[in-house]
């Protein structure tokens, strides 16, 4: 694609990678947290709920800065993860994925939670009388039934990840080939005189790529929903 410079091409691929990894890695947590929020009667749930909403409520820059302070090389969590697991987020694409995952998490959790709350507990009871353990009930009844919600959550988070910029650039900077995602690249162009056209061009690419992914997943979700609906 000569329409894009090699550097931009890299940014496109990186964005896709970051968004995909962010969604894939956060999905299990998203489902787990949604389950807890929808079902658990433990007293601390409101706190978890609050925590999940934070990235939505705070300006992205703040979230990015908080990530930098905690997951940075010198941060408490970042230092620990680095020393113990050799995991480094700071200024790596993994960090961009982390930022994207965090920013998309409230959206993902909310969609999944909504779906969980809509599941008819009578079906889960039926599964229990048939001998299914809690885990089996979840895997064979709840999960398939909330699949449209899980997909919706994943789509939202993916779209968000493709557009995330504030937290990412604050956390992992804007290093071409490393952490420069499409939105960061767009931002760069918007910061220079006469960069608007370039920015618009990249925005167009972003729209095509991200929307393509979103619309395709929509199609999948629709088919899944239909399959469950019967016929």
């Amino acid at each position: 694609m000569s329409f894009l410079s090699p550097e931009e091409w890299t940014a496109v691929l990186l964005s896709l990678k970051v968004a995909t990894v962010a969604v894939a890695a956060s999905l299990p947590f998203g489902i787990g947290v949604a389950l807890l929020l929808a079902r658990s009667r433990l007293p601390g749930m409101w706190l978890l709920n609050a925590l999940v909403h934070l990235p939505l409520i705070l300006p992205p820059v703040v979230t990015g800065y908080a990530l930098l302070l905690s997951f940075g090389r010198k941060g408490p969590i970042g230092g620990f993860l680095h020393d113990v697991f050799g995991l480094v987020f700071a200024f790596r694409w993994t960090g961009a994925a982390l930022a994207a995952a965090v920013m998309g998490f409230p959206l993902m959790v909310r969609a999944i939670r909504l779906a969980i709350e809509a599941v008819d507990p009578k079906l889960e009871q039926a599964a229990a009388t048939l001998g299914a353990s809690r885990i089996a009930v979840f895997a064979t009844v709840t999960l398939p039934l909330i699949l449209p919600g899980v997909l919706a959550g994943a789509i939202l988070a993916f779209a968000k990840a493709m557009g995330e910029f504030g937290a990412t650039i604050t956390f992992v900077s804007n290093i071409p080939g490393q952490t420069q995602t499409l939105p960061s690249a767009i931002y760069s162009f918007l910061q220079i005189p006469g960069g608007e056209l370039q920015a618009a061009r990249l925005a167009g690419v972003s729209v095509v790529v991200a929307l393509g992914a979103v619309l395709i997943s929509e199609g999948v979700a629709r088919r899944v929903a239909k399959r469950i609906g019967g016929a």
């Binding site: 009871q125 009388t129 001998g131 009844v141 039934l145 469950i228």
Partner: protein, 361 residues
């Protein structure tokens, strides 16, 4: 005792206070709509935790609120046929049917897949989703799903309500066989016919309380309860043994009250059966009548006469070990001069004994 149930709970607008025990076999829960039948079954299944309650099945304590025991539903291994089908909408009929099998111990006894789908007539539906089934088809799949989970206790909440008579006729013997193989069944039905045919024990519920509980023959032939069961449905259950088959195809059943000829093929000679005689079907005569199409004429002695509103009466006829209930008009009671101690004959049409009235012993 195979099953011991006691529970009290207050829903606010409705309070349940039920206790009964039942031996092996089918225990029927009978009662008007809203009497608390489903509530009791749910407590046995572990889906409803009453304020106070104790459920013991086959010696195992499933629930004992006093001692803080509450076995989760998944460990109770009950096969529950819910009042509404509750099929898994995202699974095919086949997967619905096979759902419970994978969680059951491999060695557990239970009917085979082919046998069950054959009996329920759902072979053609296996690849469909529940969304594309008719009401009765859903009900049948739901029965199959419970049966195939190899339960230790079967809970059936009006399982046949949505089915036609012919289909019911195919399923009832299957449940009888399961019962006879030793599977305890808690059975809710509004059909006295089904109850009389299947149940060894009947628990009569009314507004959350037990009105009567005991052996089916006793509860069903109790003239005092007859009206509540629906007078038209009252009757007696006789123990019978299949005897000779005559050349014209009729079969003699030997009962303590005398021989009864029936037209339905009830099984090989020697088979033990339960024969239900509808009180409304029994005609009484002082002298042995002749030239009637009715083939069964059993002699007996009037034991008790219980008047019923509407100019009718229930007459209990003692016949050796057994008793037969007849429902007549007071006019006939007077005309025939019936009174306790009077000898008379019970006349019963052979065809009045339908397949529905013959249960495996």
């Amino acid at each position: 005792m195979m099953l011991e149930v006691s529970l009290t709970h207050d829903f606010g607008s409705f309070a349940v206070d039920v206790a009964f025990t039942a031996p092996a076999g089918v225990t029927a829960l009978f009662g008007a709509s809203g009497a608390g039948k489903t509530t009791v079954i749910n407590a046995v299944a572990g889906l409803f935790r009453p304020t106070q309650g104790r459920v013991v099945a086959q010696g195992e304590v499933l629930l004992d609120t006093g001692r803080g025991v509450n076995l989760p539903a998944r460990r109770r291994r009950v096969g529950y046929v819910f009042q509404e089908p509750r099929l898994f909408p995202h699974l095919s009929v086949r997967s619905n049917l096979l759902y419970g099998a994978r969680f059951a111990p491999k060695a557990a006894p239970g009917p085979g897949f082919d046998q069950v789908i054959e009996m329920l007539g759902i072979g053609a539906l296996l690849e469909r989703r529940p969304g594309a089934l008719s009401g009765g088809e859903k009900a049948r799949v739901s029965i199959g799903r419970a049966l195939l989970s190899k339960p230790r206790l079967l809970l059936m909440d009006e399982p046949l309500a949505a089915l036609d008579a012919a289909r019911r006729e195919e399923i009832l013997p299957f449940i009888e066989r399961l019962r006879d193989a030793g599977l305890p069944v808690l059975y809710v039905s509004h059909s006295i016919g089904e109850v009389a045919r299947l149940a060894s024990t009947v628990v009569l519920l009314d507004a959350g309380r037990v009105l009567a509980a005991g052996p089916a023959a006793e509860v069903l032939s109790d003239p005092a309860l007859a009206a509540r069961l629906g007078g038209a449905e009252a009757g007696t259950v006789l123990a019978a043994t299949v005897g000779e088959t005559a050349p014209d195809g009729l079969v003699r059943l030997d009962t303590a009250a005398g021989p009864v000829w029936v037209a339905e093929p009830p099984g090989a000679p020697g088979t033990r059966l339960r024969l239900r005689l509808h009180a409304s079907d029994v005609i009484l005569a002082r002298a042995r009548p002749e030239g009637l199409s009715a083939l069964n004429i059993l002699p007996g002695i009037v034991e008790r006469i219980e008047p019923e509103p509407g100019g009718r009466a229930f007459v209990r006829l003692r016949m050796g070990r057994e008793a037969v209930l007849a429902r007549l008009t007071q006019r006939s009671v007077t005309a025939l001069g019936l009174a306790p101690g009077v000898a008379c004959h019970a006349v019963l049409k052979t065809v009045a004994v339908s397949r529905d009235d013959l249960g495996a012993g």
